[in-house]
């Protein structure tokens, strides 16, 4: 293959790469817009529900003891002291062989 030809291949291929990914960009944009539209309509009701749900959860937690909700990265600690939580994460990390930095707990609760 001559160098000229390889340049043509390159130009052509890079264009396709850009074209494909640009098209994906457009698709995602459209998707997001459409879904946003849909969800907006739903969200008002849901928001209310979530609020009451949260209150219930908080109330429940309070019954047991003092609420200490701390956010550390992806972790939400609800009524658990940081020390215990860190320990738990260390154990699970050790046991599951996932580096701590990649572990994500949504929340650790003391029920």
């Amino acid at each position: 293959m001559s160098v000229l030809e390889s340049f043509v291949v390159t130009l052509f291929s890079m264009s396709i790469v850009f074209f494909v990914l640009a098209f994906l960009w457009a698709l995602i944009k459209i998707l997001s817009t459409v879904l946003k539209h849909f969800e907006n309509r739903k969200s008002e009701n849901t928001a209310a529900q979530v609020a009451t749900g949260m209150q219930a959860a908080v109330a429940a937690a309070s019954e047991i003891g003092s609420v200490a909700s701390i956010s550390a990265g992806q972790v939400k600690l609800i009524d658990v002291d940081e020390k215990t939580a860190a320990m738990i994460m260390a154990i699970v990390s050790h046991e599951s062989q996932i580096p701590l930095s990649e572990l994500s707990f949504k929340s650790i609760k003391a029920l």
Partner: protein, 379 residues
């Protein structure tokens, strides 16, 4: 008589059959084991590759022998395990697991990351041009170029299809340079971007809804496979794995794809790819050229990503830090971490990691697309 018998064993042993070429290969295998264990160069693949290379260069082991025709004797162990590479099964299954491990959220939150993921494929074609000029045929040049995709399974998949002879050199180069990303990229990043650009703090990404995350793999599969059918085994499995992850209804399958399945396949893939590195195929000038071209490919890809980053920085009125462009080479998540580190060097309060994950995962799609084009052109 005993001495005779010992002589026979000796002459049937690998010691007698050992040539200097194999010795060199064994040395190379030792060096790769050293890199994998001590330097922690992508050990999940380099360690099996290196050990496979070691085993196959101990003479007469017959581990890669095909079953003798007309005989009932079986072939070598690695010959059978290699089938999964030859038939393109292992790379696809690894992509299934990678898909199940990948969060495309940052990409969906800022889809313009896709352009950086596209720009960072430039190294593939830069290396392709140079390799062609150096006399490699288009199939070989494509396989060499794909090293710049910084994506192991894609590189292995394309190479088994186009230039199987180059498989060990390309796989080793790809995984080695991926491990070297923290050394290859920073100088180029500092060279191409200004201090001011590197200091740019980016807006927090919006939250992505579950529904978007579920639709994403489906849309990407449909569109990419329709446009480039040859990419179906890679993109299809990547997106199936991601759908397992995001759907939230098949956690069992997602978990197995991320663990037992990908690990088993990684062992088999690594050892057998290493086992293709027999001396006669590996100890050539070609291999050195591939290693050199691979480095160039990585560098050009980095530059490509950064340049698109700069362009987008300018177009967005300085809202986008061009440092995240280099993460477009994929090499997930190493390249994104490098962006984070360089960003913080310029500005202590700069957190680019999540922003760089967008181009980073876009790079995986980009490389697969590039591989699909090369397959369509030269397959």
């Amino acid at each position: 008589m005993f001495v005779d018998a010992l002589k026979t064993i000796w002459s049937d042993s690998g010691f007698a059959a050992l040539a200097w070429k194999e010795c060199i290969m064994i040395g190379v295998a030792f060096f790769l084991i050293y890199l994998a264990i001590v330097k922690k160069f992508e050990p999940l693949l380099l360690l099996p590759i290196a050990f496979g290379m070691l085993l196959v260069n101990l003479p007469l082991s017959g581990l890669m022998n095909e079953p003798a025709e007309g005989s009932s004797g079986p072939g070598g162990l690695l010959h059978y395990l290699y089938m999964g590479v030859k038939l393109g099964i292992y790379p696809s299954l690894i992509f299934l697991g990678i898909g199940a491990m990948t969060d495309f959220g940052p990409l969906i939150a800022r889809p313009s990351s896709l352009f950086m993921g596209a720009g960072a494929q430039f190294g593939i074609f830069a290396a392709f041009i140079i390799a062609s000029a150096l006399g490699f045929d288009p199939q070989e040049a494509s396989s060499i170029g794909i090293i710049g995709g910084a994506d192991g399974p894609t590189a292995i998949y394309l190479t088994t299809r186009l230039a199987p002879d180059l498989l060990p050199a390309i796989a080793i180069a790809a995984y080695s340079y991926m491990a070297l990303i923290p050394m290859i990229q920073p100088p180029l990043m500092r060279l191409i971007t200004t201090k001011k650009e590197r200091e740019i703090k980016m807006e927090q990404l919006r939250e992505v809804s579950k529904l978007e995350k579920i639709c994403f793999p489906i849309i990407v599969s449909v569109f990419c496979i329709l446009l480039l059918p040859s990419v179906a085994p890679l993109i299809g499995m990547l997106m199936l794995g991601n759908l397992f992850r995001e759907s939230g209804v098949v956690e069992r399958l997602s978990e197995t794809a991320q663990n037992a399945l990908i690990n088993i396949v990684t062992i088999f893939l690594g050892v057998t790819v290493g086992a293709t590195a027999v001396a006669d195929r590996f100890l050539r000038l070609q291999t050195l050229m591939i290693i050199g071209l691979g480095l160039l490919a990585f560098m050009f890809s980095t530059v490509g990503g950064l340049l698109i980053g700069k362009l987008m920085c300018w177009l967005s009125g300085g809202k986008i830090n061009p440092l995240i462009g280099s993460a477009g080479v994929s090499a997930v998540p190493m390249a994104a971490r490098v962006s984070q580190i360089e960003g913080q060097k310029a500005n202590k309060s700069n957190y680019l990691l999540m922003h760089a994950m967008g181009p980073n995962v876009a790079g995986v799609i980009g490389s697969a697309v590039a591989a699909g084009i090369l397959l369509a052109l030269f397959g």
